[in-house]
C-alpha cells in the first residue's frame, strides 16, 4: 500500500473517530487549546515587553545633576567633556533656570512650587543621550562611575538601571510561561493519551480483525496516531485564533491603556503561529504514541 494512500486512510479513519466520539475529543482539543493559548499569551507578552525594552533602550539617557552653585561656564565645559565619553550620542546642558522653566511648562498646575525661591530650586544638569549599541559596554559604566565621584556632581540618574530590571521581568515572564506551558502541555498530552487509549479500547474488536486478516502494526496504529495529531493541530489552530481575537481587542485599546500599549503592539509572527500549531500537533502525536506504546490493541 502506498504511503500516501495509507496516510489518506489514516486521516479519514481519524476524522471518523473524532466525530464519532466528539465529546471526549472536544475535551482533549480544548485542553491542548487552553495550554497553547496560555503559552502563546506568554510568548506574546514577553515578545512585546522585550520589544518595548529595546525601543526604550534606544531612547534611554543619563542625567547628571550638578551642584546648585555650578556656573553656566562650568556647565558648558562639563557638557563638552561629557560629549567625548564612550557611547554618548548627544549632550544637552540644562541650566537651573531652564530646568525651572521646563518644570513650569510640563506641570503648570504645580508652578507655584518653584516660584518665590531665593535660589534656583532645581539643579543644573547634563542630559546625555546614549547610543544603544555601545551603552552596554563596560567602559561606559566605568565612565559614569567616574562622573559620580566628581565634586561638581550630586547625582547620576541612569535609565539603564530600571531597563535592566525590566529585562529581568521579561526573563521571569518567559521562564514562568515556559514552566506553565510545560505543565499544561503535559496535562494536555495526558488527556489526549487517555482519549486515544479509550478510542483504541472501543475499537479493539476491529483491530483484532485487522490483525487477523494481515494488517501491519503501522496500518493498525496509524489511524490512532493521526487522531492524536489531528486533535493537537485543531487545538493549535483554536489557540492561535483565540489569541488573535484577544490581541485585536487589546490592540484596539492601546491608545487608552498603558497595559495594552506595552503588551499589544505586535502580534506573533507567522513562524511563531506555525510553531504554536505544530507544537499542538506534536503534543497530540506524542500523546497518541505514548498511549499505544505498550498497548496490545
Amino acid at each position: 500500500m502506498s504511503f500516501l494512500r495509507a496516510l489518506r486512510y489514516f486521516c479519514r479513519e481519524a476524522a471518523v473517530n473524532l466525530l464519532r466520539s466528539w465529546k471526549v475529543s472536544l475535551l482533549a482539543i480544548l485542553t491542548i487549546a487552553v495550554s497553547l493559548f496560555i503559552g502563546g499569551a506568554f510568548l506574546l507578552v514577553s515578545g512585546n515587553l522585550a520589544a518595548s525594552v529595546e525601543r526604550w533602550r534606544g531612547e534611554m539617557r543619563v542625567v547628571i545633576y550638578l551642584r546648585p552653585d555650578t556656573s553656566e561656564a562650568v556647565l558648558r565645559r562639563l557638557a563638552a567633556e561629557a560629549a567625548r565619553g564612550p557611547g554618548v550620542a548627544a549632550v544637552e546642558p540644562v541650566t537651573a533656570a531652564a530646568a525651572r522653566q521646563r518644570f513650569r511648562k510640563i506641570f503648570p498646575g504645580l508652578s507655584d512650587l518653584v516660584a518665590g525661591w531665593q535660589d534656583e530650586p532645581l539643579p543644573a544638569s547634563l542630559e546625555i543621550g546614549l547610543d544603544s549599541r555601545t551603552a552596554r559596554l563596560p567602559a561606559h559604566a566605568a565612565w559614569l562611575d567616574a562622573w559620580r565621584k566628581r565634586p561638581e556632581v550630586t547625582l547620576v540618574d541612569d535609565d539603564r538601571e530600571w531597563l535592566g530590571q525590566l529585562e529581568t521581568v521579561v526573563a521571569v515572564v518567559r521562564a514562568t510561561g515556559l514552566a506553565l506551558v510545560g505543565g499544561l502541555l503535559g496535562a494536555a498530552i495526558f488527556t489526549i493519551a487517555s482519549v486515544i487509549r479509550l478510542t483504541a479500547y472501543l475499537h479493539h474488536e476491529e483491530t483484532g480483525i485487522m490483525r487477523l486478516v494481515g494488517a501491519t502494526e503501522f496500518f493498525i496504529r496509524g489511524p490512532f496516531y493521526a487522531e492524536g495529531l489531528l486533535q493537537g493541530l485543531i487545538g493549535g489552530v483554536l489557540a492561535s485564533g483565540a489569541l488573535y481575537g484577544v490581541f485585536q481587542v487589546l490592540h484596539a485599546r492601546r491608545q487608552s491603556s498603558l497595559f495594552s500599549s506595552v503588551l499589544a503592539l505586535d502580534f506573533l509572527s507567522p513562524q511563531q503561529m506555525a510553531f504554536l500549531v505544530l507544537l499542538g500537533g506534536a503534543a497530540g502525536l506524542f500523546g497518541a504514541v505514548a498511549s499505544l506504546r505498550r498497548e496490545e490493541l
Binding site: M1, E205, I209, R211, L212, V213, G214, A215, T216
Partner: protein, 260 residues
C-alpha cells in the same frame, strides 16, 4: 502445505494445551479437527496463523517455519490464510461491505477494486445482495456467511474454521458446511474444527482427533450420507462461476440451500 512436527504448547501456569502433535495436511485437502472442549483444537488452529507460538516443535505453513518468522512478517503469512470463528466476529456498526473488505483495504486496493472483490466473495456465499446491510440485520447463518466471505476475499491458500457452526441450527450448519466443501473444491486447503461427530460421520473426510492435547487418531472416514452434502454434484456450476468474472452489479441471488 501444513506440517506439524512434535508440536507442544504449555502455558506458564503449567497447563498443557498440545503435547507432541505431528501431522501433515497436503495442499487442497479438507480436514476435520475434532475432540472434546479443551482438547486443544483452538490452540492448534491459532498456531497455524501464528496467534500462538509453540513451546516445542516446528510448524511449517507453505514451507515457512511459522514458529520462527519475525513479528514483522506475520501479517504477510496471515494474508494467505482465511479464518472463520464460531462467533462470526463481525463489526456491528459497519456494513457487510466494510466488514468483508478489511483485507483489500490493508492491501491498498482502490474502492472500485474493493467493491469488485466484495461482490465476488459475497456472491460465493449467496449474499451479494446484502452489501449495504449491517450484521445485526442478518440471521446467524447470513452473518457466518459474511464471515466466510471476509475469509475468502483474497482467495487464501488455507481456510481455517473454528467451530463455524457452533452457534447455528442444523439446517444452517449444513448450509455453511456446504460452503466450506465448495471452497475446498476450488483448491483451498480447509481445516475445520468441530466437536459435532454426526456431521463428520455424515460427510466423511480426513479426521484428526485430539484428546487432552494429544493427537489421538488421524483417519480417513468414508461418510455415511455423502450425497446430501457432497458438492461434487454442483462442481460444474461452481467451476463455471469464475471468481474473476467482471462485476455486474448487486445480485438478487437467494442464499444457496443444501439440496434435501
Amino acid at each position: 502445505m501444513i506440517q506439524f512436527f512434535h508440536v507442544s504448547k504449555r502455558y506458564p501456569g503449567g497447563q498443557t494445551a498440545l503435547d507432541d502433535v505431528t501431522f501433515h495436511v497436503p495442499r487442497g485437502e479438507f480436514v476435520f479437527l475434532t475432540g472434546a472442549s479443551g482438547a486443544g483444537k483452538t490452540t492448534l488452529l491459532r498456531m497455524i496463523f501464528r496467534e500462538e507460538v509453540p513451546s516445542g516443535g516446528q510448524i511449517l505453513v507453505n514451507g515457512r517455519n511459522v514458529s520462527s518468522i519475525p513479528e514483522s512478517k506475520i501479517p504477510y503469512l496471515r494474508r494467505t490464510i482465511g479464518v472463520v470463528f464460531q462467533d462470526f466476529r463481525l463489526i456491528g456498526r459497519k456494513t457487510v461491505f466494510e466488514n468483508v473488505t478489511y483485507l483489500p483495504r490493508v492491501l491498498g486496493v482502490d474502492l472500485q477494486g474493493q467493491k469488485r472483490m466484495a461482490y465476488l466473495a459475497l456472491r460465493r456465499v449467496g449474499l451479494a445482495h446484502r452489501l449495504n446491510a449491517f450484521p445485526p440485520e442478518l440471521s446467524g447463518g447470513e452473518q457466518q456467511r459474511v464471515a466466510i466471505a471476509r475469509a475468502l476475499i483474497n482467495e487464501p491458500d488455507i481456510l481455517i474454521a473454528d467451530e463455524p457452526t457452533g452457534n447455528l441450527d442444523p439446517d444452517l450448519s449444513r448450509e455453511i458446511l456446504r460452503l466450506f466443501l465448495e471452497v475446498n473444491l476450488r483448491g483451498t486447503t480447509v481445516i475445520l474444527a468441530t466437536h459435532d461427530r454426526d456431521t463428520i460421520q455424515r460427510i466423511g473426510r480426513r479426521v484428526l482427533t485430539l484428546e487432552g492435547g494429544r493427537l489421538l487418531s488421524d483417519q480417513e472416514l468414508p461418510g455415511t450420507d455423502p450425497p446430501v452434502l457432497d458438492p461434487l454434484a454442483d462442481a460444474e456450476e461452481i467451476a463455471s462461476s469464475s471468481p474473476t468474472e467482471p462485476l455486474e452489479g448487486p445480485s438478487s441471488d437467494t442464499p444457496a440451500e443444501a439440496p434435501e
